[in-house]
């Protein structure tokens, strides 16, 4: 049995079913993220593990014991909240010592552990400060130290970075990962930010409507999305309509231009298809086996990346290229040929595609 195991967990709030038969195994020491938009059940699932919500059905096991009858204060799980939830009446040191005191540890053992934790988060000189004298990032680090001080069986983080600004978010997320790896603690991380989930986790569980849509390593989730929803939710995706030319050879037509998927397509010749392409899988040039000719309609400069919007017939395709100081970026109005490898083609039947609205990189962070 895995270290943490959820079996067919269901949660209803009145007539609303928020989690619908979710099963999951997490190995000891693993860092797993729940990723999904608002209302997908990710936070509710985490809160059921923590004990703040009771599952309507199903079971949750941790290290071989059934958690369902154990109140949250006896589960020995560390929890970090979105809004820090530090005790405002206590100093940093006393916040960290809180759980140790309850565990009945002796005074000198407590102060030694508090010192260790302060060192872990590099905040030794802040021991006597009050939470309101700290920045958001510092407060969240203290919250992390407080949660870890008791050496909990697992660490649960509920959108811990979403109240912080971008720079600190990235730094703290690397810190969290480094601390997690140093301690080898099993960690469940809830976020709606795909970049965060992909960069920090051993595995990502993409959630939707109370179920896990796909679970896998970040590389796997990004490059071989198992469902159209995952494909559109993760990263930016061009979804083009295509017509099957030769199913056996994997050939199709996009706006009359021939594209090869490199493998047979499961569809009848002449049938309609959806062809999905990542913007970064496309490049300008006439070298590749697959070519799409079009006209540049818009160019967005995003710092390290230049995103060009190219009209191919009646359809729009995004192409991402690195900002290269030696190359001039595409100009609006210019004719451009897009080139891509057969492996870049993600093909789906249109009827099997309850596609989420194509989510843009910048927008997905706000869901």
């Amino acid at each position: 049995m895995a270290f943490l195991e959820l079996r067919e967990v269901v949660k209803n709030f009145g007539r609303n079913t928020v989690v619908r038969g979710l099963s999951l195994s997490v190995e000891k020491g693993e860092f797993l993220s729940f990723l999904g938009g608002s209302g997908c059940g990710k936070t509710t699932t985490l809160r059921m593990i923590a004990g703040f919500e009771t599952p309507s059905a199903g079971s949750i096991n941790l290290d071989g014991r059934d958690l369902s009858r154990i109140p949250p204060n006896h589960r020995n799980l560390g929890m970090v909240f979105q809004n820090y939830a530090l005790f405002p009446n206590m100093t940093v040191a006393r916040n960290i010592a809180f759980g140790l005191k309850i565990a009945g540890q002796r005074g000198d053992a407590i102060s030694k552990r508090v010192e260790e934790m302060l060192e872990l988060i590099h905040m030794g000189e802040f021991a006597q400060r009050y939470p309101h004298q700290l920045s958001g990032g510092q407060q969240q680090r203290v919250a992390l130290a407080r949660a870890l001080a008791r050496k909990p069986a697992a660490l649960l983080l509920d959108e811990p970075l979403s109240a912080l600004d971008a720079k600190i978010r990235v730094r703290l997320r690397d810190d969290i990962r480094a601390i997690q790896q140093a301690l080898g603690i099993t960690t469940i991380y809830v976020t709606h930010d795909q970049e965060e989930a992909l960069s920090i986790s051993d595995r990502v569980a993409v959630m939707r409507e109370g179920r896990i849509e796909q679970i896998g390593a970040p590389f796997e989730i990004y490059n071989s999305p198992g469902t159209p929803y995952v494909a559109t939710f993760i990263g930016t995706l061009n979804v083009l309509s295509a017509i099957v030319k030769d199913a056996a050879k994997g050939l199709m037509l996009v706006e009359g231009q021939e594209i090869g998927a490199g493998k047979p397509i499961e569809a009848g010749t002449g049938g309609e298809l959806r062809l999905s392409l990542r913007p970064e899988a496309l490049s300008a040039g006439s070298a590749g086996p697959n070519l799409l000719r079009g006209r540049v309609e818009n160019v967005k400069f995003l710092g390290s990346i230049v995103r060009s919007l190219v009209r191919v017939g009646t359809q729009l395709v995004s192409m991402d290229g690195f900002s290269d100081p030696r190359l001039a970026p595409p100009r609006v109005g210019e004719e451009l040929t897009l080139s891509f490898a057969p492996e870049a083609c993600m093909v789906a039947k249109p009827e099997a595609a309850p596609l989420a609205e194509t989510v843009d990189d910048e927008e997905s962070g706000e869901a």
Binding site: P71, F81, P88, R146
Partner: protein, 275 residues
């Protein structure tokens, strides 16, 4: 033309005049507030003919009835605070955490002591509790119970403001995840963060109960309210002195709340009222 466009020009035009008007209104407000106070104070100093003196204050303090009634009322007020807080604080926390829907019901209850005059309350209490099985009309328990009802809105509003100012659910869950049971949560986390709110509840209740008249008269207790009323009927300068004294005590209490709550983390000026 929208209001937004008009505003800057008007501000530019008459900013000096407007500032002047603001100060005029503040001045009028201060006069309205302080004039009667100063007049009362000056009046209280005229106990001896022809000179200003504190003789009226001396009379007040020399009267054994003053200290006796004040002591009695203070005792009742402290009991009221203890009972009121013991009832209302856990209830409010429970409602915040488990029954947020009941908030509106409690809000309605907090209006009742204002809607139902104390005289009705007093007669209701007398009728209900003067016959078995609850013949306690001659016990101070009934007086304290009545005072708890009268001060309930003030205590609840203070506690409510205090709870609203803190992240009760977050703190509760954080404490629980660190192994805290309800008692630890209550005494180590919630109460310390409610300190200002509890102090404001304490002083509001003291102020209300010490000067309370109707219940004390109808239930026939030698309290401070009836004593003040009696003085007002029979004497001239001493009631003015009493008024100034009680005013001073109230302000002293408010100053004390401010002093204690100053600089406290996470609990700025959430004194009673809305926040």
């Amino acid at each position: 033309m929208s209001a937004g466009e008009r505003r800057p020009r008007r501000a530019r035009h008459g900013s000096g005049i407007r500032a002047g008007f603001s100060w005029l209104w503040i001045l009028l407000g201060l006069v309205y507030f302080f004039l009667p106070l100063i007049a009362t104070f000056l009046f209280s100093l005229r106990g001896k003919k022809g000179v200003l003196s504190f003789v009226a204050y001396q009379h007040v303090f020399a009267d054994p009835q003053f200290l006796r009634t004040f002591g009695f009322s203070l005792e009742m007020a402290i009991l009221t605070v203890i009972v009121g807080l013991a009832l209302i604080v856990p209830t409010a926390i429970w409602i915040y955490l488990k029954l947020p829907k009941a908030k509106s019901v409690i809000e309605f209850f907090t209006l009742l002591p204002f809607v139902i005059p104390p005289i009705i309350l007093a007669f209701g209490l007398i009728r209900t509790y003067s016959r078995p099985p609850f013949a306690i009309v001659s016990s101070p328990i009934l007086l304290v119970a009545g005072y708890v009802i009268i001060s309930f809105p003030y205590i609840y509003k203070s506690v409510d403001a205090g709870l609203r100012a803190m992240d009760l659910r977050g703190l509760t869950e954080a404490a629980q995840s660190l192994g805290a049971g309800w008692l630890t949560l209550f005494f180590k986390v919630i109460i310390p963060n409610l300190k200002t709110a509890l102090l404001s509840a304490l002083f509001l209740t003291l102020a209300i109960v010490i000067g309370e008249l109707t219940l004390a008269v109808l239930l026939a207790w030698p309290a401070f309210g009836p004593y003040m009323a009696l003085m007002g009927r029979n004497l001239a300068y001493e009631p003015a002195a009493l008024a100034i004294l009680s005013f001073g005590m109230t302000w002293g209490a408010i100053g004390l709340i401010q002093a204690i709550s100053r600089g406290k983390p996470g609990e700025g000026s959430n004194l009673g009222g809305t926040h």
